[in-house]
Point group: D2
Chain length 370, copies 4
């Protein structure tokens, strides 16, 4: 797997964390199940299959000890379940999952089931999981609904600090700026706090792709690297789901503010939040983990202390989020490999050599600072 | 089935439509599948089963011809999928379903499947259905997840103008103001427009139940009619989902305004939007049905005309919605019958004779005007 | 000044605080300037004047030590400045003022000026005050803009624990349910926490007024007590501004939840959030006062502790807010006295004897419990 | 006045309208009053004065014929009055004004007064104007409150199709990316529709300024062109107000979607929506002008037709808005001239020669296409 920085390129002004991944936020783990099977013409229910599921676990005790969270909608042609509960409570009470558009339900109920299994007594308990999606029907037999509960359980079991990128998990069948897209991650450190991002990048027009400010999409037209959409009766561009994590002790409204900054990272990469796009963002903060208890557990009426980051410190976290999202998208694009799906439709990878060549020509090549 | 007005009682100032149901809005149909099976101790996966699914179909061509819609959250300890799309597009593009909390996913994917089946060509198409829930785990084996896709298809097939109330559909296992709750519906006519409501009523404390302003809940304490929660290790009160329909030609922002008025109807019945409650409301308007096309179908870039109700007319529609919601709750309570569920837990019906007696004593009996 | 409970009547289930006023929340003070001058035909700029300004001061150091706050819009045909800052920061950083619709600006700038004067160094400082309004143009020469900065300063200087009600402050020229309306306040104690409300009540139709569930508005039609609107070429009904205060240690998102409950109190009194109504609500919580610092003062980047009320405790606070708002409206109506304004237009007081008689007839008279 | 394109530079992919200004949207006019007086040390109430007011008039009959509108908050450390009414009604019913933070009130009431004067009969009428602000206290005697009602009337009288840029109107005392900022405008044409933007740009850090993707801010550090903040005890960066106009027939929710795209234009220029920033956006659409009537005028209860742009067409409008906002910021920066304000604090202009030189070095110079 090649990442953006492996090409010698840079983006942004803040340093990434050690893994340059959402899992740089201590306690956060990520797991994926990737489903790739079959070739040739679409036969609904049979394949070809190019999909999967990604889970992000805020910390190992998330089902008992919620974290503060907030969300933002850039464009709502998509789904992220559980947001009414996030907005109301300011809390994330389950792992988060991302899959394809038509498998949100099965993944949601599987997270409920995992939540139930976790408890000795699941009576008088309910679960409202957060499950997002992007559309992979250009490559995948999306109406075959090949994601099953066992794939969610496997992703949960596999969750760890390593985050594969590109054609993996829920990002398997993605197309981004008319190149092969997918899963990407990155992180930034600011004032001792870490902000990590994970994206499922499925959005954007070719001519608008901007890499560290360089008009790469204009430089590599679809006449050079063909578009998957030419074959797919495209409806337009798809979506991007962004999950942001931080170890800073943010209150819910501060998480909501952070979530909106995903928009700015997407904008820097050339996104527009197009009509056909489901651009939904969740930000959670682990800095108060352990202080909150689930509804079922928390019967003590006494007020308790939580920690708050001074508002003045938010600005640097905002910038960290913007850069982490921007680089997550670039990582998804660089890591993704050319993939042929249903009906022979092919989404082609962003060519690394061309990318480096263009970046160099615009004064942003491997030898330059960000 | 007994309805509130069958007792000779009245509520509100506006006249109901001919059915006093959401289906008084022309074209709206409702279907339900009710699942009641088994008795005795809870065995997860086996039962007892006291649940179901309700579908509301805005009109027969909803999958091709969306209607304008809006939503409101009184309290978000619940789920109503698809709201980001409703908020972004101002449109409802699928039937709506309501079920129990842990079956939202399977019902959501079943609506997707129904949407796919409807089309000759479902490639380059996606579906973002609206599915809500309330918690029936006090009576039902909710973690057994007994609702299946076939139950959704059956409810869709059964959809018609008759709306059963009480222990039916998604409302089968409901508890409302510590009486047996369930599904309820009502309508109002104002200035020639019809506003209909359907509720899945599962919320509220006994002592707060107010019927047409009369403190019925105080008059019938749990020492007289026992509470199901005494046996159920209650977490507190549950939720209410409200679906509002109108034939008025409302624009999306007007639908959103209408949706918020569900709060006021609930308030009049004694609700509070408690912390444990998922009080989510959707309002749709059929007055522009036929003018809108789904994303896949609508390729013509030319602007088109839609009809708008003058803002001054909204106030009467607001009042119609408030009254329709209030009476829908009363209908759910009056129609629901005593039900024993898992572990012998029993939710007792609001006693009709006592209701009439109390109303009479407070000057709101059968002989009086509303 | 007569208050609702002075008539021997009761409403709600929770006990009020010692003053039954928003100032039962320790530290909260209220000040008013009432402007009544002239009689006869309207001469814009001359009068008659029937207006004023009300200020609510969360605590004496509010300009240096903000409090957490949140807001809600039931209907937005009105103004409450400063809400974008409340929503973003979750904080209230100034006193709150309420006046007439066309004097919001002068009052807003006066609060800025008061904020500037408070500081030794007001460079690199800005102020974003919260100022609300309701329309008093039926009685008042609203376009004469008679409220001046000095009236705001006087109200600030006069702020104390006593809260006059009825035709005072910003509530001087109000009309509510077609009776004379005005300023009202109330409070409730729940689980040791106090929730107080102050309303500027200018909304509602006669026939919808409900007092503790009793249809008082239907019982006193405008044929018995005439409507001011008959003379005033009414546009419909006006607005209600609600300010909620609590000493509970709520986080911003919890304040926002509390703010929405004002809707339910209004609903119980017969409000609908009509199109012509500006129903905007602010809730603040003093439980973390002293921990927060204004932007200018807070340069320390270290996280700090704030206190949070467990979510399970919110439900009782919600109910306290609902009851406090409901009784605040009743206090405004009972305290307000018949007032004649411009062009001889007269808004008539709710007749106390008739109110008691009707309440008694509906089983809610002085001898009965709430 | 020099504009960005006057330097031979380009940005974006869509063509601007004939004026490359918000007034390319037919009927939109802009007027400004610029207040510059005095030099030397700050004497509050005396000066130095570096401020003003800008008005944007959607069309000449705006007070009788509202336009659909929507808004968005990127960061709320600021004020834009009237937004609750915009959100509720989906309409803009007055001209829009922008001034300094502490003069919002006087400008707001002046717009009310202008609205009143416009009418033969202003009884039973109220006005809820939209007035925004950014902070100019680094250069201006902001606490002297030098903006008066007559300045607003003058700006209204002066409104026309020409839009001055830089140190003019409300933008007189602005600082943007640590260069002299101010007022800027631009437009784009997409599919026959025009989208125009006007910004009052007062935000951003030097090192983050990005011009058409080129890191101009990094290339011109404050060691080369000094920062005004070095002298001003900076609190951090300021704000940006964006007004978007289009002739497309957008419904209110579509306007709201358009408004959010201002965020993406700001992001492309290097903004972050920092904590101290009031980044509030309004979008209005003239495509239905003439169909709507003000509340006072509109007594006919009959539904009427309005025109809606198909949703599929929104994506190109989004991109037009993004580009127009980005270029408006660049125009503000290029047009603004070095200005010394109170206490000798100087905000220095972005040096045109250096800008061209840097753009050329990064492959985006005058000879290149965008």
């Amino acid at each position: 797997m090649t990442r953006y920085r492996d090409l010698g390129l840079s983006v942004g002004q803040l340093p990434p964390g050690p893994r340059n991944a959402i899992t740089d936020v201590a306690g956060v783990t990520v797991g994926m199940t990737t489903l790739v099977d079959g070739d040739g013409p679409l036969r609904v229910g049979e394949g070809p299959i190019r999909t999967g599921v990604t889970v992000i676990v805020p910390h190992s005790r998330i089902r008992d000890e919620p974290v503060f969270a907030g969300c933002h909608r850039l464009n709502g042609n998509g789904e992220l379940t559980g947001l009414e509960w996030v907005r109301e409570s300011g809390q994330l009470t389950t792992p988060v999952a991302i899959t394809n558009t038509h498998s949100v339900g099965v993944v949601r109920d599987a997270l409920v089931a995992a939540d139930v299994r976790h408890r000795d007594d699941a009576t008088a308990f309910w679960s409202l999981p957060v499950v997002g999606e992007t559309y992979d029907g250009a490559l995948n037999d999306i109406n075959g609904m090949h994601v099953r509960a066992e794939h969610v359980f496997a992703a949960l079991d596999a969750a760890g600090p390593e985050v594969p990128e590109g054609n993996v998990g829920g990002g398997t069948g993605m197309i981004c700026h008319d190149f092969k897209g997918g899963t990407g991650t990155s992180s930034r450190v600011a004032n001792g706090w870490t902000v990590g991002a994970l994206v499922q990048a499925n959005y954007g027009r070719r001519e608008r792709l901007t890499v560290a400010g360089v008009p790469v999409g204009e430089e590599i037209p679809t006449t050079e690297v063909s578009s998957a959409w030419d074959d797919a009766e495209a409806l337009g561009t798809g979506s991007i789901i962004v999950i942001l994590a931080t170890d800073a002790p943010l209150l819910p409204h501060q998480c909501e503010r952070l979530a909106q900054r995903a928009t700015l990272g997407i904008a820097r990469a050339g996104g527009a939040g197009e009509h056909s796009s489901g651009d939904l963002f969740l930000a959670f903060a682990t800095g108060n983990a352990g202080k909150l208890r689930t509804y079922k557990a928390h019967r003590d009426p006494a007020p308790f202390d939580v920690t708050m980051l001074p508002d003045n410190e938010m600005s640097d976290l905002f910038w960290a989020a913007i850069e982490a999202v921007e680089e997550s998208i670039l990582n998804a694009l660089v890591a993704a490999e050319t993939l042929t799906g249903r009906d022979g439709i092919t989404a082609r990878a962003l060519p690394h050599d061309r990318l480096v060549e263009i970046m160099t020509r615009y004064g942003r090549g491997p030898a330059t600072a960000a």
